[in-house]
Every structure is written in structure tokens, then in C-alpha cells.
């Protein structure tokens, strides 16, 4: 596919909704010299206002649900949501915990799922590439 609609690299905002930190460490691993996604311009930003991609980790604790929703609403369009880790899909090790309101796709729409506990950095990078394609299509439609 010709990736030409987006004239810039993707910036991602990472939000932890109650993760054990495993997925967060793997996300950081993609930025280390071994994987180094910043060479493609993909980087983490400190505000969803600058982001194209939302990286969501964790199974969504009750306190985090309105915050996740607010962050999603504050991200400019077009945007894609990457759900990183198994616990955001079906609870994972937190399955049936009393304080969960997840999975993530019951709170906000998810575009790309990255299963794994935690997923490998290669899987996260591949998901970002898929998100990029999806964003290209959205940009072309817009």
C-alpha cells in the first residue's frame, strides 16, 4: 500500500488503565536501541492532543474508565486505538476482578488488538504499522 496520505510520522499517547506494568515495559522496549521505533518517527508523546494513536494497556479499573473515555475524546481525529495486552481483551490475570469495568472495547472503540501477556515488542510494532494503514485509509476518506 502506498503510504502517502499522512505526511508525517505517527505519534502515540500511552495510557495505563490498571495494567501490571508488563505491557508498559514492552512498549518502552520498542523505543530502546534494539527496536528503536523512533527511527521511523514513531514516538510517545505526553498529551493526547498531539497523538494519532492511543496505546491502551490494562483491563480498565473502575476509576480509570471515565479518564480513558476523556483521553479518547481529547485525541484529535482521525485517530486509532491500539489495545495492548490480553487483560484489556478479556481480563487476563485480573479476570472477574470486582473493580474492573473492561474490556477496553466496552469503554472506547478499539481498532487494533495486540494479544499477549505481555505482547512482544515486534507485535506492538506490527500493530502500529497496521494502525498506520488504517489511519491512511481514514485520512484518504477525509
Amino acid at each position: 500500500m502506498n503510504l502517502s496520505a499522512i505526511k508525517r510520522a505517527l505519534w502515540a499517547y500511552h495510557i495505563n488503565t490498571g495494567s501490571c506494568n508488563g505491557c508498559d515495559i514492552e512498549i518502552l522496549a520498542t523505543l530502546t536501541p534494539r527496536y528503536d521505533v523512533e527511527r521511523f518517527g514513531i514516538m510517545l508523546v505526553g498529551s493526547p492532543r498531539h497523538a494519532d494513536v492511543l496505546l491502551v494497556t490494562g483491563p480498565v479499573a473502575r476509576q480509570m474508565a471515565p479518564r480513558l473515555k476523556r483521553v479518547y475524546e481529547q485525541t484529535p481525529d482521525p485517530k486509532v486505538v491500539l489495545q495492548v495486552g490480553s487483560c484489556g481483551m478479556e481480563g487476563g490475570v485480573f479476570y472477574e476482578s470486582y473493580n474492573l469495568v473492561g474490556p477496553v472495547d466496552q469503554i472506547i472503540p478499539v481498532d487494533v488488538y495486540v494479544p499477549g501477556c505481555p505482547p512482544r515488542p515486534e507485535a506492538i510494532i506490527e500493530a502500529v504499522a497496521k494502525a498506520w494503514v488504517k489511519l491512511e485509509k481514514a485520512e484518504q476518506v477525509a
Binding site: 480509570m64 479518564r67 476523556r70 483521553v71 482521525p78
Partner: protein, 114 residues
């Protein structure tokens, strides 16, 4: 002497004017590079506070009273006693005044000054 009698010193208004123009151009340049596809009058234009709900402007401001929190906390017992005494009713203050006058008079009478 040259520019407006101030020479080429950093205080020359011409230099300040030029610096101002350069800053304005830079601000305009960076602002133009901002994202234009955001939706106006939605959450996308609201202040981002790590996902928290942003309180009203009046509640966001830190009051000067907060700066003295440690002082008030340390002197809590002293303030509690004094605030209770300060009822704001003039009759109470008159009673305090009369009681203190009476105590002072008794002390002065005992020590033999009066």
C-alpha cells in the same frame, strides 16, 4: 550617537521592536503548523489534565491561604482557642473587656499599687 539617541546598546527601542517582530513571526509560524482537523467545541479543545476533569477556573487557582498551611497547622491549638473567642458579637467583647479590667484591678490592688 545613532538610533534614537541610544546608540547600538541593548536598550535601543529599535532592537526591542525587531526582537518583538521576530518573536511574533515565530509564534505565527509554529501556530500555523498546528493540527487543523480537530473538532471545535468538543473535548478536543479542552484543557488536558492527565484525563482528569478540569475544574472551573476559580477552583484551579491556588489561594494565598494555602501557602500558610504549615503555619496554621502548627499553630492550630492557638488559633482554635482564639477563633472560638472571636464570636463577632459586641456584647462578648465588652464582657471580655470588663473581665480583664476587673482582673487587672484585683492584681493591682493586691500588689498595693492602687
Amino acid at each position: 550617537m545613532s538610533i534614537l539617541g541610544l546608540g547600538y546598546s541593548p536598550w535601543s527601542p529599535i532592537f526591542w521592536l525587531l526582537a518583538f517582530v521576530v518573536v511574533i513571526i515565530m509564534v505565527y509560524f509554529f501556530r500555523r503548523r498546528g493540527r487543523k482537523k480537530y473538532k471545535k467545541d468538543t473535548a478536543q479543545t479542552k484543557v488536558f489534565l492527565c484525563g482528569e476533569e478540569v475544574p472551573e477556573a476559580k477552583q484551579r487557582h491556588i489561594k494565598a491561604h494555602n501557602v500558610y498551611w504549615g503555619f496554621f497547622e502548627t499553630m492550630k491549638e492557638y488559633y482554635d482557642a482564639n477563633i472560638k473567642a472571636h464570636t463577632g458579637i459586641i456584647n462578648d467583647y465588652i464582657i471580655w473587656f470588663l473581665v480583664l479590667i476587673a482582673i487587672s484591678a484585683i492584681i493591682l490592688f493586691i500588689v498595693g499599687i492602687v
